[in-house]
Amino acid sequence: MIGLPLVYLLAGLMFAAFAGLSAADRDNAKRFGNAAFWGLFAVSFLFGDRLGDLGNGVLALLLAVIAGAGRLGLGAPRTTTDETREALATRHGPRLFIPALVIPVMVLAGSLVLKRLTIHGAPLADPKQATLISLAFAAIVAAILASVMFRQPPSAPIQEGRRLMDLVGWAALLPQMLAALGAVFALAGVGKSVGELAVMITPVDSRFAAVAAYCVGMAAFTAMMGNAFAAFPVMTGGIALPLVIGRFHGDPAVVCAIGMLSGFCGTLLTPLAANFNLVPAALLRLKDRYAVIRAQAPTAFVMLALNVALMNLLAFHR
């Protein structure tokens, strides 16, 4: 069965190649920092299951120390100049969009079809991971297709991948680190404490106040945890079930749907949702790490207020 191990093998090999090429990149003054960072990332993907829990913890710590000590630089693989790219765009025209479109089309097709394919009754691919497996294959097909269609050198996919990866830098690892932090927080009972705190300060005698406390609590707690999934059970169990639904008879479907979306307002506001808010700032070379959050903030605050209003309006039928 095709599953996560194959995807991890591919990712491990890619990061190992990034590490090797980084070490050989004399134009990057911090080349050994980059090589060590992507190399450890490769070790995690290739051998993570054999390192043991503590081994993996030490590996994560080493990655953080390399990044925190400022040992990551920008690799300088030989790429095309802006002028060449203009000329290439003239030559290739809209055909350039074809490999870019292959990715979403293959992901869509793959996630629909992979789940249903079986060999001798056994599923061909892990149905739970169909999307990620499709994405991995789509990415490889698109890279090969682009190289062939536009006659790129064979080293181009890896070298260009490394160029982009160095731009993202430590931010590439942050989403995974935050997911691990979430697990430690859960173990330490952080969510429970926040829930107790939220319940303590929620007024119990006004419907509007309870609704507002639930929505704002979802947003605030999501901002603290980095994702709404961690906040939902705590806030809903603490405020929505006993008060909004229990005492004031709110429709559970409306309350929970809008409660979750209130949490998403918090996701738009927090650097802890790294893959949405910090990674793009790195990918787009923004000077302000928090520029994307700043651009989202007005939408997030207005939407939070509207969610409170909508829940008040829609959840109570009588």
Partner: protein
């Protein structure tokens, strides 16, 4: 309650702009120690979760394809497509993208676009091309708004899809509490917020055009 110190470490660490990876480890240590775990226990718990969450980072496999396309002139081609379009403006392009992204996400196609595969090579160059000439400051804002629009479209579209993770989480959670709701009921009630998000963010995008025009006139 002492375990909340970990959250304080996160907030302070990010506000003071320490390296986020170190902040995360420090926060895990703080909360873990406050909960009575030993440093090695915390590190092992962190390592275990780090290993099981590798799939989060596997999405970087898409970078080589995007890189090759950029090398062959994809960004430049994206810019040209927009320059040939009459009446295009950064705000209108982003507005059209917002609609597409919300609809696609509502149909469950959340992975059809994203920051690495869509915003960097296509959307941001298109929005920039439509807003030229741009001063450096304004260029940064156009890029940030492009990334923001992708997020808003995704977040306020995906919950309309029945089988998305958040809907399944809600159904499961309510079920444990003895309340039965249909996924369909949840996704229907995500629609009012989705419509509001389109109107609110869309209006901001059109205002964004005006602001850009003003800075252009001033320059």
């Amino acid at each position: 309650m002492l375990t909340l110190l970990g959250v304080a470490v996160i907030v302070l660490g990010f506000a003071l702009r320490f390296n986020p990876l170190l902040v995360v480890i420090a926060a895990a240590m703080t909360s873990g120690l406050a909960a009575g775990l030993s440093p090695t226990e915390v590190l092992a718990a962190f390592g275990k979760a780090f290993n099981t969450n590798r799939y989060v980072s596997a999405a970087w496999l898409v970078l080589p394809a995007i890189g090759v396309l950029e090398r062959a002139g994809l960004k430049e081609q994206a810019r040209r497509t927009i320059q040939g379009l009459k009446g295009a403006s950064a705000g209108r392009i982003l507005l059209a993208y917002l609609a597409l992204r919300q609809i696609a996400a509502a149909l469950g196609l959340t992975q059809a676009a994203g920051q690495a595969q869509t915003v960097r090579p296509l959307l941001a160059p298109m929005a920039e091309a439509a807003a030229e000439p741009l001063a450096d400051d304004a260029r940064q804002r156009v890029r940030a708004m492009s990334a923001a629009t992708d997020n808003v479209g995704l977040f306020f579209g995906e919950d309309i899809f029945l089988a998305i993770g958040s809907i399944l989480l809600i159904v499961g959670f309510l079920d444990q509490s003895g309340i039965t709701v249909e996924p369909l009921a949840l996704s229907v009630w995500a629609i009012p917020t989705a419509v509001c998000a389109f109107v609110v963010h869309g209006a901001r995008l059109l205002l964004f055009d005006r602001r850009l025009a003003k800075t252009r006139d001033a320059a």
